[in-house]
Symmetry: C2
Subunit: 300 residues, 2 copies
DNA sequence: CGGAGCCATACCCTGGAGGTATCATGGAGC
DNA sequence: GCTCCATGATACCTCCAGGGTATGGCTCCG
C-alpha cells in the first residue's frame, strides 16, 4: 500500500463518485477504479458498497476514511515541521516517558524546554524497556520510567520515590482514613495498567502477596482514566502513585496508606558516558529544580 | 512522496548504512540511494549527513524519523482496526468536539459508548465550523461546540449553559472573593484560544467591552494547559468555562464571578431530519442523563 | 423502452522503480 | 604517504505497474 492509495481513497470517499473523483485527481476513471479495488484487497475489507448509482462507504470504509485523513494530515505536518527544523538549525531533543510519570512535575520540564527556541521537543510514550532501546538508537535522549533496567549503555538515576496512594470511590468506608494494605485487601481491586506487563499492576499484586494478603481483581484497565472511572463507578479500588492525585475527578478520593515504605520510584535514564549537550544541561538544571521542589514540598 | 519512501527511510535511519539497509529491504543499494535522495528533495531538507564511512542523521532527520515511525505505525493499526471492524460488522460513530467541552461530563458519554460492543467510536477535535462540514460529509455524527451556527442541514440543541469562572494564580488578591468583571479588568489578561478565531477569546473580550471595561492582554495562548501555566506564572488571569475547573493545577485557583448571566453554552449538533440510528438513540439517552445530572448538581 | 450515468473489464503504452556495473571518496593500516 | 577497502554516487538498462482509451453492462429515470 502506498500514500497514493490513501489520497485516491480520500477523494473517492468525499465524492462518492469515481468519475468525478477521477476528474478532480486529473486522471481517468478506470485506473482509479482499479487502485481502489487494490486498496480494498490490501486492507482486506470492503470499503465501498457499489451500486449502479455511485458508491457508499461501508462502516469499515467510514472508519478507514477518518484515519486516512489523519494519516495524510500527519504526513503533511511532518514534512512542514521537518523543513522548518532544517531551516532553523534547531536541534531535536527526545523524551520518552511512561504515562504514570506524566501527571506531576514532568510537564513543567516539557514546558520549560519548549520555550527554548533552539530546540524541537519530541515526546514518545514508551515503556521503560522500550526507552532503553530508544535511547541507544538515538530516538530519545532522556527517559522517565518506574523500573530499573540493567544495560551497559544506559545509566539510570533515581529522581525520587513517590508514595503510593489508594484511589477510592467517594463515600467509601475507608475514604477518610489512612488504611493499611490489609484493610484495602478486603475490597475488590481495579488493576492497571493491564498492558504491557510487567508494570505497576504487578507491583501492586506483589505488595499484597508479599504480605500474605489475598486480593480479588474485579476488573483490569489499560488507562488511568478508565481505571479511575471504574473506581468512581464503585467497581473496585486501585493503587496509584502520588502524582496521580493531580487528576481530580468527581467521585474519587485519594488516601495515603498506613504501611510505611510503599513507594514507586521515578527513574531517569540517559545514554551512558555521553558529554551532555547544551539542551541536556538545560534539562538537567530544570530537573534539579523540580526534584528539589518536590523534596522541599514547594511547587512552582 | 509515497509510503515506500518512509519505509526505506526508517530502515536507513536505523542502520545508518545504505548497503546494509538495502540488504535488509531485499533490494540493491543504488536504487535505495536514489529513493532517499528523492525523499530528501521532496521533503525539502537534508535528512542525512553523508560521509565515506556511513551516514548520520541530521537534527531534521531525527525529527523526521520519529514522526515517520508514528505514521507507519498509524497506517498499520488503521489497517488492522479496519479489518476488525469489517469482520465484526460493527458500526462507526463519529463525535466532533471543541477542546473546552472535553473536561466535564463528555468523557462519560465517550466511555459509555465505547463499552457498547457494536460501535467503533472515532473522536475528532474540530472547531464548531468544521463540525458542521464534518456532519454533512458523514465524517462525524454528533458535534459538541460553543457556538451557534446557522445551517439548513444541521440542527443544534443547547445542552446547558455553563457559568464562566476566573482562573487566578494562587495568592492573588481576588483569590478568595467572588469578583466582578470590573474588578478583574484591573489585571492583565491571558487570552485563549488565540487560534482559531472566533472563539472563547472573542467572547471574553466582548464581555468586557460591552460593559465599557478596558482590558490589557498580557499574552495569548493556544491551549488551555498553556494558558493555565501562564496564569500560574502570574503573567495574567483568564476566564474559563466551569468544566475547566476539573483541571486542578498547583498554583491555580478558580473563582465564580459576581456578575450574573456570564455563561458559555454547550451546543450539540446533529444532521437535521435524520432518523436516529440505534447508536444515536443510545447516545441521546446517555446525554439526557448527563444533562439532567448537571442540572440537578448530581454527578455520577 | 431508450438514454443517461456510472462502474467494471480488456487491452495498450510509458515512466519510473529496481537491477548491474562502475566510479569517487575518504578513513584505516602499514 | 601510499594502498586498500568500505561505502555512497552515477550511468545505463530492463521491465512491470500505473495510467490511458475503448467498451461493456447495469440501474434508474423520463
Amino acid at each position: 500500500m502506498e500514500l497514493r492509495h490513501l489520497r485516491y481513497f480520500c477523494m473517492v470517499a468525499e465524492e462518492l463518485n469515481l468519475t468525478r473523483a477521477a476528474a478532480k485527481l486529473h486522471m481517468a476513471q478506470p485506473p482509479l477504479s482499479r487502485q481502489i479495488k487494490q486498496l480494498e484487497s490490501e486492507v482486506g475489507a470492503e470499503l465501498f458498497e457499489r451500486s449502479a448509482r455511485g458508491l457508499r462507504l461501508t462502516p469499515a470504509g467510514q472508519f478507514f476514511h477518518e484515519h486516512t485523513l489523519q494519516i495524510l494530515d500527519k504526513v503533511d505536518t511532518t514534512i512542514a515541521a521537518t523543513q522548518r527544523l532544517a531551516r532553523s538549525k534547531r536541534v531535536m531533543f527526545g523524551i520518552g516517558f511512561v504515562p504514570s510519570v506524566f501527571y506531576g512535575q514532568l510537564p513543567l520540564l516539557v514546558r520549560e524546554l519548549r520555550q527554548k527556541d533552539n530546540v524541537e521537543l519530541v515526546l514518545a510514550e514508551l515503556t521503560t524497556v522500550q526507552q532503553v532501546k530508544a535511547l541507544k538508537s538515538g530516538r530519545i535522549d532522556l527517559g522517565f520510567g518506574r523500573m530499573r533496567i540493567d544495560d551497559p549503555d544506559v545509566e539510570q538515576e533515581n529522581l525520587f520515590d513517590e508514595p503510593l496512594m489508594a484511589a477510592l470511590p467517594e463515600g467509601h468506608p475507608l475514604a477518610d482514613t489512612k488504611p493499611t494494605l490489609a484493610q484495602l485487601a478486603e475490597y475488590p481491586l481495579v488493576l492497571f495498567p493491564a498492558q504491557p506487563r510487567p508494570s505497576l499492576a504487578d507491583m501492586t499484586l506483589g505488595l499484597f502477596r508479599r504480605r500474605g494478603l489475598k486480593v480479588t481483581v474485579a476488573q483490569e484497565a489499560n488507562e488511568l482514566q478508565t481505571a479511575l472511572a471504574l473506581v468512581a463507578s464503585e467497581i473496585g479500588i486501585t493503587l496509584v502513585p502520588e502524582q496521580v492525585k493531580r487528576v481530580q475527578r468527581d467521585g474519587i478520593v485519594y488516601v495515603y496508606l498506613a504501611d510505611p515504605g510503599l513507594t514507586s520510584p521515578v527513574i531517569c535514564s540517559r545514554r551512558k558516558g555521553e558529554a551532555p549537550s547544551p539542551i541536556m544541561q538545560e534539562a538537567n538544571a530544570i530537573l534539579e529544580v523540580l526534584v528539589e521542589n518536590r523534596r522541599s514540598g514547594r511547587y512552582p
